[in-house]
Amino acid sequence: MKKDIKKAGTGKRIGVHMKRYLPLYLMMLPGLVYLFINNYMPMGGILIAFKKYNYAKGIFGSPFVGLKNFEFLFATKEAWTITRNTLMYNLVFIVLGTVLAIAVAILLNEIRSKMAKKVYQTVILIPFLISIVVVSYLVYGFLSTDAGFINNSILNAMGKEGIGWYSEPKYWPGILIFVNIWKNLGYNCIIYYATVVGLDTSLYESAAIDGANRWQKILHVTLPGLKPTIITLTLMSVGRIFYSDFGLFYQVPMNSGPLIDVTNTIDTYVYRGLMELNNIGMASAAGLYQSLVGFALVLIANLIVRKLDKSNALF
């Protein structure tokens, strides 16, 4: 009896709930359909990672091979190098990228002239829109051994010997970090800038009345206001920490052999190794491994955030 009443109660509540929120649910529908078709349906393909894929037999007909497809990722000590490179580069990108993007967003906000603001914004965003292949040639223009700008116009002019940039691994962590930040700063900055602009102006007014200077206003109003955005964006990048920008690590160093120790990431390793083997099973295994680790890291990071501050956690 009790149960029935409860059921009827929930049913009624759901009815009321639906009536109120139906338009919102309807608006959500196209997105959900898209998500389902685009992201969930192909998940059946995960099966391939555990199979010896045979074109004639298809996904379901191919024989199971257990975890054999994953072995190549851990077969040699390269496994350690590529994991280290992927993780460390991404960590630096996340930390440095976030700090710089916020700094620039705040600076943009402090600029009074509307005209200047627009110009800076555009200039910062342009690199994000340039294809990575073009970027790799821009870098080559600077670093090419005999015709490059740095060797030719700077080092030679100072009477110094040119550097063979593409065969000296020690410079590349710095170069790659610089290129990545230069390229992506504009995009990240815009998101933070939008949040800064949206902050309640009355907060600044009251801070001014309390006698806060500019620096204090940034420290006590802007940054706390940005906190939810920072956490969300960071959590999202943590989910992709096991992926690397293929263009950045393959095209920009011009696939140079001597640099491989510092430029080889999981994606480039898989590409170099499977280019000739053409093995779909092994490629899917690598992809699945990356997303599983990413998934786990997001869960852990979110758990930590929730422990520290419940209201800021993603879920």
Binding site: D146, N255, I260, M275, E276
Partner: protein
């Protein structure tokens, strides 16, 4: 209820199938009676995938012209699709995975064992004995072996140059200006005086340039179908599989190149440049490059660079399984492999059909310059960059029955034939390497080789310090496992094919 319906559907399908089969059978019989081989077969469309750039409209026109020939003979239509090299492999993978109908395709030999083990292609021997008879007779036994696996024939090797030599191609004008008699140069090391002189006379020109970051090795090693593990020389009788990177020959060559690099005879950044050697020579920035050699190689480089080219032969022509590198396959998603082979046979033996598929339509894509000698060129207003149908004779089953393009030697096909016949044959020719048992090691080694190989071969790394590291890492990556497995397969093959 449900069961009944299924049963009914099955019945209907079987009946329909029987009817179609019956019709086909009768017709074929009728055709045989009148002596017209297969003219009354049920109609079928053979879909062909070939590499190279071509517009859809031009492909349609060519399909139509080609279909005229095959429809009359076999009641078969042809549908040609071409995909540029950049996306060819990807496109093939997509088409094969999606199950889209495809009857004939071109693919590099490098993938043949993996194509078989992943079920991409089907054996065709039974059809070769019936509808592919002419084709089967024209190709020699050792070439057939290169496409035979576990007793089944899986492809048709293209009739093109099936051997290679190696040499040094250079700007003839500059070479002549040095006054050095280069006709006596026989080895790579002997090139040095010439290169040094070039550097003196033309300080702004790089004496040796690389090709998209690689420089060919002047060696006749037989890599036995790819991956690490080679016979040191195709010309020797030894069938011991070795790690070529650990050989003295390799060390000697990369030492020489490193020395040249230090002396400024090789372009800087040779292992990272993405530019092609021919365009570097064409722009006047480079003097020469290492190249494969074959009949017509001078003209080929001349065409791309726009300079007069001389080629010094450094390694005599030899042939291995790897050299039989263009193979035509029948993919698993062909509905009627027999009809596909029938068309392939026609493509291989009928000059009219071969010319349409290779060169396109007369007047639109080519015009005849010399009817008697069979020489053609682009029509007025058409050139290599704006043609709607790129001509790549070697990519098709049989270039030797098609026209020769102006600028090549008129007897190019005869020269090619002679080249093939005179080349040294490796004792392991016909052996096809199956790398599936050692895939993990192959992946790991590919990464190690990418790290050291090109840079060593372009003279950018010091072999004295790098070589030990290179070999050590190869060992760790499991190179020895690959070599042992290769040796085992080779020994087995040798036993069977003695």
């Amino acid at each position: 209820m449900k069961k009944k319906r299924v049963a009914a559907a099955l019945c209907a399908v079987t009946l329909a199938g029987a009817m179609i089969a019956g019709c086909g059978g009768n017709d074929t019989a009728g055709g045989n009676d009148s002596g017209d081989n297969g003219n009354n077969q049920e109609s079928y469309t053979v879909k062909i995938l070939a590499p190279g750039d071509a517009s859809t409209e031009d492909c349609e026109k060519i399909s139509e012209a080609a279909s005229k020939i095959t429809e009359e003979k076999f009641n078969t239509k042809i549908e040609v699709t071409r995909v540029g090299f950049g996306s060819y492999d990807q496109q093939v993978n997509l088409m094969l995975a999606s199950g889209e109908k495809l009857d004939l395709m071109y693919q590099y030999c490098g993938n043949v064992t993996s194509a078989i083990s992943s079920g991409q292609i089907v054996p065709i021997d039974e059809y070769l004995d019936t509808v592919g008879k002419d084709l089967k007779e024209q190709i020699n036994e050792s070439d057939w072996k290169c496409v035979t696996f576990d007793g089944g024939i899986y492809g048709v090797p293209s009739n093109k140059e099936k051997a290679t030599g190696w040499g040094f191609a250079m700007n003839k004008e500059m070479a002549d200006a040095t006054g050095i008699d280069y006709s006596n140069i026989k080895t790579e090391a002997e090139l040095e005086p010439l290169l040094t002189k070039i550097k003196e006379m033309y300080p702004d020109v790089y004496p040796v340039v690389s090709h998209t970051g690689t420089m060919s090795l002047m060696t006749n090693q037989d890599d036995l179908g790819g991956d690490i593990g080679s016979l040191e020389s195709a010309a020797s009788e030894s069938t011991e599989v070795i790690n070529y990177y650990a050989s003295d020959k390799y060390m000697e060559e990369v030492k020489l190149r490193y020395d040249w690099g230090q002396k400024g005879l090789i372009m800087p950044d040779a292992s990272t440049t993405t530019e092609s050697a021919n365009s570097l020579i064409g722009s006047g920035k480079g003097f020469g490059r290492f190249t494969n050699t074959k009949p017509g190689i001078e003209q080929e480089i001349e065409k791309e660079s726009g300079k007069d080219i001389a080629v010094i032969d450094l390694v005599d022509p030899y042939t291995t399984t790897t050299r039989v590198d263009i193979v035509w396959y029948v993919p698993h998603n062909s509905e009627q492999p027999e009809r596909a082979v029938q068309v392939l046979n026609e493509m291989y033996t009928n000059p009219e059909l071969a010319n349409i598929l290779i060169n396109g339509i007369e007047g639109t894509h080519y015009q005849i310059v010399d009817e008697e000698k069979g020489v053609v060129n682009y029509p007025d207003g058409v050139n290599a960059s704006n043609t709607g149908y790129t001509s790549l004779p070697w990519a098709w089953p049989n270039e030797a029955i098609s026209y020769v393009w102006e600028g090549n030697p008129e007897d190019l096909w005869d020269q090619t034939q002679k080249f093939n016949e005179e080349a040294t044959v490796s004792p392991a020719k016909g052996f096809a390497w199956d790398n599936t048992p050692v895939q993990n090691q192959v992946t790991a080694c590919a990464n190690v080789i990418a790290k050291y190989g090109p840079a060593l071969e372009c003279g950018s790394l010091d072999p004295e310090t790098t070589m030990p590291k290179f070999l050590e890492e190869l060992k760790e990556a499991g190179a020895d496992d690959i070599i042992a497995e290769k040796q085992r397969q080779l020994d087995e093959w040798l036993k069977e094919n003695k």
